[in-house]
Symmetry: C2
Subunit: 306 residues, 2 copies
């Protein structure tokens, strides 16, 4: 079975070893005659010209396996008639937890206060984790896992959930208590989805509720934050650092002020990226199913769009 790796944005070097280990019987290639491939492993950004991929010449393909969980940028392609499967990666949640723990620790320890300028400064000793108040906005599957992991590291964690969804072992403030949830948040981590209720939730008024110098970590959805209000809050020190993985426009345009702000860290939508180690076996299983003509996993229903 000849398989085209049509996902250069995911990195051939990252993926090829894991895919080859998971399905050594497949012939995995980075390019070739479209009509010769039995399946595609796909992510938007192929071809690299930016043109939408023309799936028409892939006449033999029995599977287009997305490496993205969300396929909204794929289903609309009118040339796509082959079966499309979305990625459901068990490593995604673990990766999200690690991202949130890592950046929370960076803020907690004040790592960005150590200028490498030759001056041996008297240390500002950070409080220990139990003295550090962290609020996690959103207590769904991802937010709950992040909140539990932060609590296990010793932080003083509270959740906030519009629906009041509980997390074992900690206080979860209900929707009406947003002010209290923000007022305690020396470090604020948001895993909120994009809904009418969460859109523009962090604006000038709510940002002003945070403790002075608070850190915001947002690997949830870019629509949460009114960007100009965040920049103003950063400039007056109300917000001390913002670690942003998601944006209203992605890729974040090169001229966007977030890039140049000394107290903003931009990461390129990586917090919940698909992990080769955990996703490769999922891809391999679907390739085998396609080869054998068995039912595919996570087949996208074009009518519903997911």
């Amino acid at each position: 079975m000849r398989v085209l790796f049509a996902a250069p944005s995911k990195g051939w070097d990252n993926w090829a070893p894991h895919l080859r280990a998971a399905c050594p019987e497949m012939e995995l290639l980075q390019d070739g005659e479209p009509g010769s491939f039995d399946a595609l492993i796909y992510a938007p950004g192929y071809p690299e010209s930016g043109e939408p991929l023309d799936f028409t010449p892939f006449t033999r393909a029995r599977l287009v396996q997305s490496l993205w969980a969300g396929v909204e940028r794929i289903v609309g392609n009118p040339t796509l008639t082959q079966p499309l499967c979305r990625m459901v990666d068990p490593g995604l949640q673990a990766g999200m937890v690690e991202y949130c723990l890592g950046w929370t620790m960076r803020a907690h320890l004040g790592m960005d206060g150590y200028a490498q300028d030759g001056v041996w400064r008297n240390p500002i000793v950070p409080p220990l984790a139990p003295e550090r108040r962290v609020t996690v906005l959103g207590t769904g599957a991802l937010g709950g896992a992040v909140a539990r992991a932060l609590k296990a590291m010793g932080f003083d964690v509270a959740g906030w959930s519009a629906s009041g969804r509980a997390v074992e072992g900690m206080e979860v403030l209900p929707g009406a208590d947003l002010h209290a949830a923000l007022a305690r948040a020396e470090i604020l981590v948001s895993l909120l989805p994009d809904t009418p209720g969460t859109r523009d939730l962090l604006d000038a008024g709510t940002l002003a509720l945070l403790p002075s110098g608070a850190t915001i970590i947002n690997p949830g959805r870019g629509t949460l934050i009114v960007e100009d209000d965040l920049l103003a809050a950063l400039d007056r020190g109300q917000v001390g650092m913002a670690v942003l993985d998601v944006f209203r426009t992605e890729p974040l345009p090169p001229e966007h002020p977030f890039w140049a702000h000394p107290r903003v860290v931009v990461t390129p939508h990586i917090a919940a990226d698909t992990r080769p180690s955990t996703a490769a076996p999922i891809v391999a299983e679907n390739l085998r199913r396609a080869m054998d003509g068995r039912p595919l996993l996570h087949l996208v229903d074009r009518a519903r769009g997911y």
Copy 2:
């Protein structure tokens, strides 16, 4: 009871609130007539002129409470005749664990690969923690606690101990297996003490055993590392990042090449700093003992030097 806070390097603003909360009955001051004080809370660096403190005029002082665990820079002061107590801070181990977790996460997640230069790069997706091999050199009280915490976060941890001291739930390689301990160490954390056996342990020969691009985190002792050999290993990419908290000469001189190296992070001997929140109650207890004439805790034996 009048108490002089003679430890400006520790930060008055950090300490005063915790000390006042722990012993509200004491009169805590930053300066005053030496003969008027009943006790000193002390750390080297007072006076700030750099001259050794002349303890002679502190005729009423019944206690000199060090904020440092190590008092080797204090016991040699010939003017010191008052009772000297060293600090035994229960927060020190917790702080060390947090330091090691935080910097390990920073290396693991490749945080330093995100240049804030306006370019939205295809992410290099890091492996998940179980796929990341971390070696902890030294499995004493601190090293064991760090190793267990890293393991609890999911890392693939092994210890190395010259004496073969075990850590529950993980492999601890014995002294003779140093090569194996280093060869697996994508991230190397050292909590080794300064002994004839650990001095210069990381030199050109042993650094060459590390996986290419390894991270070294050293909050143990500065004598572990042959500094020129580390710089050479960094320059050829054998070592990808070094996070150093301890040095052969402290404070690290302004002209030292570590400060200017783009892949070295210098922190000013803070990993195991005394924590005001946990140390203030220890100080308060000793101040009360001094006031009442009861036996002092952690009284230094001048003959032994600790």
